[in-house]
Amino acid sequence: MTEAEPKVTLDLARAHGLTAEEYDRIIRILGREPTFTELGLFSALWSEHCAYKHSKVFLRRLPTRAPHVLQGPGENAGIVDLGGGLALVLKMESHNHPSFIEPFQGAATGVGGILRDIFTMGARPIATLDSLRFGDPADPKTRYLIGGVVSGISWYNNCFGVPNVGGEVVFAPEYQGNPLVNVMCVGLVRQDRIFRARAEGVGNPVFYVGAKTGRDGIHGATMASAVFEEGAEERRPTVQVGDPFTEKLLLEACLEAMATGGVVGIQDMGAAGLACCSAEMPARAGTGMEVDLTRVPRRETGMTPYEIMLSESQERMLLVVARGREEEVRKIFAKWELEAVEIGRVTDDGALRVTMEGRLVAEVPVRALTEDAPVYDKPTARPGWLDALEAFDPLCLPEPSDYERSLLEILAAPSVASKQWVYRQYDHQVGINTLVLPGSDAAVLRIKGTAKAIALTTDGNGRYVFLDPYQGGALAVAEAARNLACSGARPLAVTDCLNFGSPERPEILWQFAEAIRGIADACRLLEIPVVSGNVSFYNETQGQAILPTPVIGMAGLLEDAGWRTTQWFKNEGDRIALIGPEAVSLGGSEYLGVIHGRLAGRLATLDLRLERDVQSACRGAIEAGLVSSAHDVAEGGVAVALAEACVSGPGEIGAEVALPSAGRADLTLFGEGASRIVVSIPAKAQRHFEGLMQEWGAPWRFIGTVGGDRFTLKVGGSVVVSLSLDQIAHAWRTGFERYVS
């Protein structure tokens, strides 16, 4: 339709990441060859990132319904009922590839994108969390990446003004060429103010609001779906630049405009920009849309329709406004010094029609771009390498000669050590809701005007998923829920971010399918719906996939904010109890990695019913007001959990603990297994506590007492660790920092 545009051929389609079959399908749908702009639209909307073509069949297995779910998957974010007319909006997204290419801007725009997903639903973002994975901490490249990613997140979060209240930082060599940057955001909305990304109302005007369009990130969506190769650095010019200041104005202007009732539907221009919005919004509403690109505010001259449609310039939104309310909406954006331009209208014929300077450059049924996108059910195969890994018995390795040294080494391992260096660069208090700051199992935020609070966490262990994707997936859910239980909360909902290698490889797709099966089973048994999420495939460099890493973001509710509980010991003389089973394993443990440099073995079996009972027991004791501290036993086993409980709080306090022998002392101290929580309770609450545990049917035992200025561990009657608090605190506080500063 335009002379200037290149002729579309199969080769060009291939260069756009489309297969020959997919290209045929496009021709069949259109009944003709696509124009260049149309090819761009198909390549973006049919990319893995937008169409979920390899994951859709598996994602259907996730439980997404529950009475309190107001919005499940399918919108920009999920929504759950908080009671009292309030709702919580949540979503997590990855920005892995952009962050590898340009860590600062990549991570920053990752934050920007997820914030827009939340406020596009009408909610005010109240917290973010960031879940990060990097390669070898000693590699200078890793230091460069961490520095860039953390300062990018810090810049965007802090400038925008949302507290970052938690997250993770984990290291493993498998992430060396492909770090993970996942950001979760939650927002608060009144239930009568929820907005959806639908282009309703034929004849309604379509408004473009926010920043101008430049040539940023064109092909970002297809890039995120392409395997990294040597020379990927040359793709660099496609990196987007963030402007958190403009985003903050966009937030205020959008919420103000939404409050007038003049806004019908709204979606952020994220991946695949205007292309994605102008197809998805009418598709959800069963309408069509007409867009005149001549009116789109541009930052650069000579932009083609293709570029304007596919640009991923940040801080932009598409609004459908009620006819007659245009002036009202325009005024609000002007007040916030933002552009708001009418660029099109909603139509009734199900087509997306794009014009520029009077020429028609694309005309495609919106369904063709969205619902008709290809869906694959590709083969999966259990990788052969697992047999040898499973057969490995960690107990064939020599027992450490010095347990004190081993404990200090694990505490100082950068995946275990304090992450204060990271979170002190993030504002975690703006909004004055954060009751439990970063540094405990879960962050807790109050809901102003109510007695309630919410708890937030992200969890995922790629080592577990690598060794046993089914259990690993389930364990991620179990651990997230356990973290919430430790803080006193009842889980409400999951948002996930599933980071895997190439789904075109059967072994990777098997990992993916199994992990989802595990997540689904755990969510079903623990009764936690999945309300939103994201899939990030193709996380590999030169055929080397990352550890399969599903990250579970979870939000929970405390009916009484006063129940909130932190992980550190508080009072001399408090009794320490371990709730949960004895069974643990060194397979896939942090100990095996740090001390023996191996990733192998079998995981301890997760019993989901037991998990549920342990969590209920812990929460029950918290709600009864018996618990001074509760800490999930995770990486590093019970020895690390106890040591952290001694030194992670505002004041340090010692403990004396005696554990029954579970065989070798390394297994007892550092063995990892699900469903275990260390709590401390005042001695006078002991009776009451015992009764409650009985009631919930959770296994438990007293293992020691809080107090003094040493940390002492006995196993089977003999002292294996006796360290001063200074030694422990030093190892744990400096372990991460020594690599980054």
């Binding site: 400038c159 200041f245 002190r424 504002d427 703006v430």
Partner: protein, 237 residues
């Protein structure tokens, strides 16, 4: 006392101050848009934290030339109080309502953490409910909070007792380790010559409820509105 909380494009502690003044202290409070210049209904103007204009160029620079800030000298001249916290302090310095400037943190990183403040001057309207030497706990959250003034200005500030708060340890020692951003002589907050304009980097509004870890920030506002604090150690205005 009637409070006005100013909103610049990019301000984010506005709601927090509004909440603390309105809901915790139960005082009359309203928002003031950055283009408003009529402050006649107000007794105290709050310049809250945030990244006004993205803090582009220099923190507080662009906001320091905004209409509402240009109206402040007259407001102060007729007896009004101004409290600038975090970005508000930066704006006050940029607008020359307070001497000196705030530079990038010496560690070159943003810092969000709890700090302790030594009260040096308990004679100002913002601190008369406090004792000299008292230690307050208040969080900071900034990337450009290193106070700087040339030696002469610093001497003048000291001579006139305009340095109100210094970063210190929990025990009240003013040490290098207790200084989170490299501020000159640990300066955390200063007042103008008249004592009616206070600028400080810490966030009093984040230390206004026990549930959030400290109520020391309230003491500043209590002092201002003349409520008896502590053990009645100062007289109502």
């Amino acid at each position: 006392m009637r409070f006005g909380v100013v909103i610049f494009p990019g301000t984010w502690s506005d709601c927090d101050f509004h909440y603390v003044i309105g809901e915790v202290l139960r005082q009359p409070v309203k928002y003031v848009w950055h283009r408003d210049t009529d402050l006649s209904e107000l007794d105290c103007v709050i310049l809250p934290g945030g990244f006004s204009y993205g803090d582009y160029l220099r923190a507080g620079a662009i906001a320091g030339r905004s209409p509402v800030v240009e109206a402040l000298p007259e407001f102060v001249a007729r007896g009004g109080f101004v409290l600038g916290s975090c970005n508000g302090f930066q704006i006050l310095c940029e607008a020359k309502l307070l001497p000196g400037a705030l530079l990038r943190n010496e560690c070159l990183q943003y810092r969000c953490q709890s700090t302790f403040l030594l009260v040096e001057n308990a004679e100002t309207p913002f601190t008369r409910g406090l004792r000299p030497g008292q230690v307050l706990k208040m969080p900071i959250s900034h990337g450009e909070g290193k106070y700087y003034a040339d030696p002469e200005s610093l001497r003048a500030l000291t001579a006139r007792n305009q340095i109100v708060f210094r970063y210190c340890t929990e025990a009240g020692e003013v040490t290098k380790a207790a200084n989170p951003n490299g501020s000159l002589e640990n300066v955390a907050g200063i007042v103008n010559e008249g004592g009616t304009v206070l600028g400080l980097m810490p966030h009093p509004e984040r230390a206004a409820e026990a549930a959030l870890g400290s109520t020391d920030g309230l003491l500043l506002l209590h002092s201002l509105i003349g409520v008896l604090v502590e053990d009645g150690s100062f007289l109502k205005r």
